[in-house]
């Protein structure tokens, strides 16, 4: 099975579940003044690779669960959570573009301008994006709990679900701090990669699926989540960091070099600084985080990242994390179909094209 097949298999079910949930909310948004909130949420939700629901689904299958609309519904709620996080992220980073379209706060800023309303259009856009992110965060919990899965299954997964949410906010805060402190240590960057994305993108969705099916913590579940989930999660973040610098905008949905402009303190940057000559270090310190960074500046930073060997080192790290993860997967006492799917998902999540 290819990674794409492991994702494609569940996409229609996840999409259907999201539509069902949104349809339940629709009556409240019949008021034309509230309608733009729902329309924007729906637009935003059509994007996304359904990666987190896929890890949840294949965790469920790994622990012996069979196809069940209730599981798809619960898993799909993770897309609402991700949408919330991205909408707030874009406000915090003042990003203009997401998934190839204007970011949510820019959309509402534009609406304000076109209507010729009073006050600051930018402030209206940001305020609305904060509220819409909140709404999706609330809905993520409501959808998770409203899946129709048995209460015992939900109860077994609840501590992990709650912990995941708190961890996500803490991880995002650490990310803001790393950017502000601008120290770019490898330890700091690794910790952010683990908290902000590693756990929340792979390990915890997988763990939720496993717990929903197994209905209790087991030693092998924890081992698989740590040795496969966490490793794939960090490798996924490393790939994301590389794409944020070298990625094709058509593929990433973000302008080229956006992470450089925002001054993200990634593992890639930490490794580049660790090996930089004084001149190269000066280039990085001078250009990284400059909101007006142009194509030439992006190119100069890319050159430093390549010439210091940071790019190659990160590719090597991804390969090592992935190999370790696949080895752990081989040894886990899980269903064979799930093993095959999780192996291909791991490759897809950490390869150039996902």
């Amino acid at each position: 099975m290819t990674g794409s097949a492991a994702l494609d298999l569940i996409r229609p079910e996840v999409d259907r579940s999201l539509r069902m949930f949104v349809d339940r909310q629709r009556p409240l948004f019949a008021n034309p003044e509230l309608a733009p909130l729902l329309t924007t949420a729906e637009d935003f939700l059509t994007g996304g690779k359904r990666l987190r629901p896929a890890f949840c689904y294949w965790g469920w299958r790994a622990a012996g669960g069979s196809d069940d609309p209730a599981l798809f519904y619960a898993a799909a709620s993770l897309e609402l959570l991700q949408a919330s996080a991205l909408i707030h992220d874009d406000v915090m980073d003042a990003s203009d573009v997401r998934r190839g379209m204007p970011s949510v706060h820019r959309r509402f800023e534009q609406m304000h301008k076109e209507a010729g309303w009073h006050g600051s259009a930018a402030q209206f856009g940001e305020g609305t994006a904060v509220l819409l992110g909140n709404l999706l965060l609330i809905w993520a919990g409501e959808m998770w709990r409203g899946s129709g899965l048995p209460p015992e299954a939900l109860a077994a997964a609840r501590p992990v679900h709650e912990h995941m949410l708190t961890e996500l906010m803490c991880g995002q805060y650490l990310d803001l701090r790393e950017q502000a402190e601008a120290q770019s240590t490898l330890d700091g960057a690794l910790r952010v990669a683990l908290y902000k994305s590693g756990k929340y993108s792979v390990e915890q969705p997988l763990r939720l699926g496993l717990l929903l099916a197994a209905r209790a913590e087991r030693e092998w579940i924890d081992t698989l989540c740590l040795q496969y989930g966490q490793q794939v999660g960090i490798a996924f973040q490393l790939r994301d960091d590389i794409l944020g610098v070298f990625g094709d905008p058509a593929e990433t949905g973000k302008p080229a070099g956006d992470d450089l402009r925002e001054g993200k303190r990634t593992i890639l940057i930490a490794r580049a600084l660790a090996k930089a000559s004084p001149a190269q270090e000066q280039t990085v310190r001078g250009l990284l985080g400059d909101p007006g960074l142009d194509a030439d500046g992006v190119e100069r930073l890319r050159t430093v990242i390549e010439e210091t060997g940071a790019l190659a080192a990160c590719e090597e790290m991804i390969k090592r994390y992935l190999d370790d993860a696949l080895l752990a997967l081989d040894q886990a006492p899980i269903e064979e179909a799930a093993r095959t799917a999780l192996a291909s998902l791991a490759v897809a999540a950490t390869s150039r094209r996902t």
Copy 2:
């Protein structure tokens, strides 16, 4: 019983519950980099009048519930929700002060400045406030569900709890729109008062308490929530609007005339504009929402609001809503101690000093 007594009675229990919940989260925040999030949350939570928990508690008592630590714990979660809403509100309104202290985004902006960190201190402050508001929103749900109340009680209240959260975000969005559209119609202002505060501050907390004890919707519950809860809620918002213009900063915890500076489109403003002479209208249109509005400007707006009769009309509305609410309360088939407490709470929530 005075309103203050009805609040004082539950304050120690609510405070204890909040401390218990925060203590459960503390281990994760042992990391000194994360500690400021928890410290700020704790500081913020010491403020607040515990009004929403009080309506929930007295709703519970009204439907026959007896004192129970689990109920106090669930009711206290409403303070986390309120804290989340206020922290986000201050970001959206760019407010400097809350509860007599710097607003959360200003606190973290200051921390950034003092540490001499890189990048925009303001952006760091706002980003952190968004994340801390999210954390408190997440915790509000976690605390509500983790109260230890029987599953049947929580299940009976769940649809109302979920609806309340969605309604709150929609209400806040309508508020942003009213400010932006700047039309100041009475209908628009009333709708915002109902959605943003009326329902969420009084009606729904009361309904939650009633449902937790009664464990099922009953006709009299709905009647009481609409005829007492909604009326008190709107009167509470009207009082808040008046305090936002005429209140003593020592009492409101906000600078004098802050609502005028932010351009809030309240019922008070709608009534003033409806009766304003062309010169008075010009004063309002020219000064309302001016971020640099000084003491003289505040005074000029106050004068228009008084001279148009808007202040007196709003006081009259509060009285009428309150009278109707107390009449409905008299007719409800509820416990006598709760009737007395709810009557005094209604007065306290809508009088000059609360």
